[in-house]
Amino acid sequence: MYDHQNKHNSQPRYTPLKTLEVFKAVNRSFPHTDEINHIHDQGGKVFGWLCTYVPEEILHAAGILPVRITGYDRETDLDDGNAYLYMNNCSFSRSCLQMGLTKEYAFLDGVVGGSTCDGARRLFDLWRQYIGTPFHHVLTVPRKYTENAHSLYLAEVEMFKTHLEDHLEIKITDEELMGSIELYNQTRSLLRELYNHRKKPNPPISGSEVMEVLDACFRMPKESFNHHLKKLLQELDGSQNAYSGRARLMLSGSVLANPDFISSIEQQGGLVVADELCTSTRYWGDMVEVQPGEPPLKALARRYLNNYPCARMFPSEERFRRIIETAREFKVDGVISEIIRYCVPYSHDLPLLTKRLADINIPVLSIDLEYGSSGSGQIATRVQAFLEMIEAKK
C-alpha cells in the first residue's frame, strides 16, 4: 500500500478491518472506557501499572482489572507535569503525571510500579505523594539475570502478592494464578500470531494498525481483548490487504503508544513490520512457562526478569542480541530508533546498538521526540532520506 505511487498521503487501497474499530474505540475513550467504567461502577477494582516489569497476572488473579498508565496520545501542554517532575524528566512520565494530577485516573484503586528507570521511580514517588490513589506498591527490579537476581526478584514478587492480599483481605491461590497465567499466555500467543502476519512480504496489517491493537491490549480486560483479537486474526486470514513499501522497518526504543507516529513513517513509504518497544514485543514477547510442580509465582518472576529486556538491564548485549534476532526474523532493511527526550537508558545504548546493527548491515535512523508525538515535517524529511539511503543500498 505504501508504494511509490501512493506515498504522498494518498488513501491506501485496502479493506478496513472491522475488528480494529473495537480497539480504536477503546483507545479513543481511554481511560474512561465502557469496560473500565462498568467495572468501577459495579464496585470492582481497577489498578494502574507503570512498567512492564510489574507482573500483571498477580493483579488479575486478585480479581482486579490491571490497566497500564499511559499519558496523552498527543503532544499537549504538560504544565502540571512539568512543574512537579521538572522539564528534564521524560515526557512520558510528565504526561502520565499530568493525567493523574488532573484526575483522569481518579478511578484507580491502586498503583504499582517498579524501580526500573529514573523517570518511572520518580513518577511513582510523586504519584504517591500528590495523587492519593489508595494502594501503592513499588517493586525492586534487579538489573541482572543472575541466580541471585532471580531470587531477589522472586522475593519482591512474593512481597507484592502479600501486600496486595493484606490490602484486599483476600488470598490469591495458585489455581487463580495459573488461570491468569493461562489467560495472559493466550494473549501472548495471539499477538505472536498477529506478528507472524507482519513477517509476510506484504503484510495484511500496517504498523500503525498493530499499534492500535497493542494499546488496547493493556487497556481492556484480557478476556475481551483475546476474544476480539481472535476475530481480528480470522479477518486477517481472509483479508486481501497487502501492504508494500520502500523498505521494511523496525521501530526500537522508548515507550511509544501513538499510532499516528507510525502512520507518519508509513506515509513516507516505510513498511513498519517489527518493533522493540515496551508497548510491543517487550510487553508480550515471552511466555510464562510453568515447570511441572513449580509454584506459579516462581515462573512468573522468572519470565518477567528474563523477558525481552528494557535498556535498563545489564548486560545490554542481551537486548542487542534480541533486537538483531527480531530484525533478522522480520527481514528488516533498517531500524528507526525513537527515543523520548531525556530517556537516558535508551540514549546510552544507542551508540553501541548502532554499531552492532552496522555490523550486520542494518542502518539506524535516530529520532528524538516527545511522548505522544505524531511525527512532524522534520521527521518526515529524515525518514524520506533514510528510505532513499536504504533504496540506494539495495
Binding site: 512543574a83 512537579y84 517532575l85 521538572y86 522539564m87 528534564n88 524528566n89 521524560c90 512520565s93 524501580s115 528507570c117 529514573d118 523517570g119 521511580r121 520518580r122 511513582f124 514517588d125 510523586l126 505523594q129 513499588v138 525492586t140 527490579v141 534487579p142 538489573r143 541482572k144 541471585n148 537476581a149 531470587s151 531477589l152 522475593a155 535498556a311 535498563r312 545489564f314 548486560p315 545490554s316 527515543i339 527526550r341 531525556y342 530517556c343 537516558v344 537508558p345 540514549s347 546510552h348 545504548d349 544507542l350 551508540p351 553501541l352 548502532t354 554499531k355 535516530s366 528524538d368
Partner: protein, 420 residues
C-alpha cells in the same frame, strides 16, 4: 601518556600545583584546605603515573565502593569527579563534551558522563585496565560503563545496588561485591586483603563520624566552615574513602572549626543568610560563587544529600557487609530509594537544626532523578518556612547558564530573604 597535549589528568595536576603554591603562601588559608589540595595533587599524580609504574587502574563511577579497590592496591580513577575537576581547574570541558557527542551521546545524558566517555575516546584520560561501576544513584551511572568498556577495549563489572533497603536486598548487594572482588582478582592478579579492607572500613566509620562532628560545628552562628567548603567533604569521600589522609584532614578541620567557634568567629566576615545547598553548583563558577557568598554574607551550612550522613555505624569485622551498609548510608542515596517521609523529614530536620534561612537547588539539567524532587523538597521546606531558589545549570557544561544569570537570581533571592 603524561606528555599528551590533551591529557586531563596532567592539566589537573598542573592546576593543583599552582593553587597549592598560592595558598601555601597565604597565611590566612586554612591548614586543612592546604591538606585538601595536597590530597588532590596526590590522587591525580598517582593516577597520572600509574601506567608508567606498572599499576593496575580501575575506572569507576560515583558512589562505587572504592574501598574495595584501595584494599586490593588497585589505582582508582573516579570518572565523574575527574570530569568535574577538569571543569573546576581548567574552566573548560567543551572538548571532551564534543568528543562525547561525536560518539553519538545525546545532550540529555548527564554531562559528566558524556564528558567521561568523550575523554576516554579522545585519549584525554588514561585507558583503564577495568571499568567498574554501579547504578548508584541514577540511570546515567548504571548505563555509563558498557560504552567505556567498548571505547577502551577493557573488561568491566557492574554492581547492581537494589532499590530498597531490606535485608534481602543488602544480602544481594553483598553477593554483588563478592562477585566483583572475584572479577578484580582474576583481572588484576591481586588478592583481596580482607584485613586491609577491615582497616579501611574502620577508618571509613571514623571518617563518617568526623563528618558528622564537623556538621555539628556548622550549626553554630556564625558558622565556622567556608561557604562552599562542603565540596571538600564530598570530594574526600569520593577520592579517599577510609584513607589515613582523610582522617588527618577531617581531624585538622574539626580542630580549626572548634577554635573558630570558641572565638565566635565565622567563616565569612558578616554572616547574613544561612543556606541549605541541594545538589552541586556548577564547577566552573566556583570562584565566582565563593566571591558572591562573601559579598552577600551567604553561607551553605548544610547539604542534606551530600554531607548529612544517614544513621548507623560500619562494622569492620564484616567488611563486605559494611561496604554495603555504607552504600545505604551515603547522603545522596537517600534520594535513590523510594522517596518517602524519611527523606522529606531529613530535609526538614536539617532546616530546623542548622537554622536555615533559604535553600538553593542547583537544578542540573542532566540530572533527572534529582530535579524531579524539586517540587517535593520545596513543599517539604515550605512546611518549615524555608524558601527555595532553583537555578537551572549544569555541573560542567558552560552553555547552560552564565555568571550573570546566577548572580541576578542569587541577589534577588537574598533580597527576598532580607525582606523576610
Amino acid at each position: 601518556m603524561k606528555k599528551a597535549a590533551n591529557n586531563k589528568i596532567q592539566s589537573i595536576v598542573r592546576a593543583c600545583r599552582i593553587i597549592l603554591r598560592m595558598i601555601e603562601a597565604d597565611p590566612n588559608t586554612r591548614h586543612s584546605q592546604k591538606m585538601y589540595y595536597r590530597m588532590l595533587l596526590q590522587y591525580y599524580t598517582r593516577l597520572r603515573d600509574a601506567r608508567e609504574n606498572g599499576q593496575f587502574i580501575a575506572a569507576h563511577t560515583v558512589f562505587f565502593p572504592a574501598e574495595i579497590l584501595l584494599a586490593m592496591d588497585i589505582i582508582p580513577m573516579h570518572t565523574e569527579t575527574t570530569t568535574w575537576m577538569t571543569s573546576l581547574f581548567t574552566g573548560e570541558c567543551g572538548d571532551i563534551l564534543a568528543a562525547g557527542a561525536r560518539l553519538g551521546m545525546a545532550t540529555e545524558i548527564c554531562a559528566p558522563h558524556r564528558g567521561m566517555a568523550g575523554a576516554f575516546a579522545s585519549g584525554a584520560l588514561p585507558r583503564p585496565d577495568v571499568m567498574v561501576w554501579s547504578n548508584m544513584v541514577c540511570d546515567n551511572t548504571a548505563k555509563s560503563g558498557e560504552l567505556v568498556m567498548d571505547i577502551c577495549g577493557c573488561p568491566g563489572f557492574f554492581i547492581d545496588r537494589p532499590f530498597k533497603d531490606s535485608g534481602l536486598e543488602k544480602t544481594y548487594m553483598a553477593g554483588e561485591i563478592r562477585d566483583m572482588i572475584a572479577f578484580l582478582e582474576d583481572k588484576s592478579g591481586k588478592k583481596m586483603d580482607y584485613d586491609r579492607l577491615s582497616t579501611i572500613v574502620e577508618r571509613m566509620d571514623r571518617q563518617i563520624e568526623l563528618t558528622r562532628q564537623v556538621n555539628e560545628l556548622r550549626k553554630n552562628v556564625p558558622t565556622p566552615f567556608s561557604p562552599l567548603g562542603f565540596l571538600e567533604l564530598l570530594t574526600i569521600d569520593y577520592l579517599f574513602p577510609g584513607q589515613p589522609e582523610s582522617i588527618e584532614y577531617l581531624e585538622t578541620l574539626k580542630a580549626e572549626l572548634e577554635e573558630m567557634v570558641k572565638q565566635k568567629k565565622g567563616a565569612i566576615p558578616k554572616e547574613r543568610f544561612r543556606l541549605m545547598t541541594l545538589f552541586i553548583p556548577p564547577m566552573y563558577l566556583m570562584s565566582f560563587l565563593e566571591k558572591l557568598s562573601v559579598e552577600s554574607g551567604a553561607v551553605s551550612v548544610i547539604e542534606p544529600f551530600f554531607t548529612f550522613w544517614g544513621e548507623g555505624r560500619l562494622d569492620a569485622s564484616r567488611p563486605v557487609e559494611a561496604v554495603v551498609e555504607k552504600a545505604y548510608m551515603i547522603p545522596e542515596t537517600r534520594m535513590y530509594g523510594p522517596l518517602g517521609e524519611s527523606a522529606l523529614e531529613a530535609i526538614k530536620k536539617c532546616a530546623r537544626e542548622w537554622k536555615v534561612d533559604g535553600a538553593v537547588y542547583y537544578a542540573d539539567v542532566g540530572c533527572r532523578h534529582s530535579c524531579a524532587t524539586i517540587k517535593l523538597f520545596k513543599d517539604a521546606l515550605a512546611e518549615v518556612d524555608v524558601p527555595v531558589l532553583t537555578i537551572d545549570c549544569d555541573v560542567v557544561d558552560q552553555t547552560v547558564t552564565s555568571e550573570e544569570e546566577v548572580r541576578d537570581k542569587m541577589e534577588r533571592f537574598f533580597e527576598l530573604l532580607e525582606d523576610r
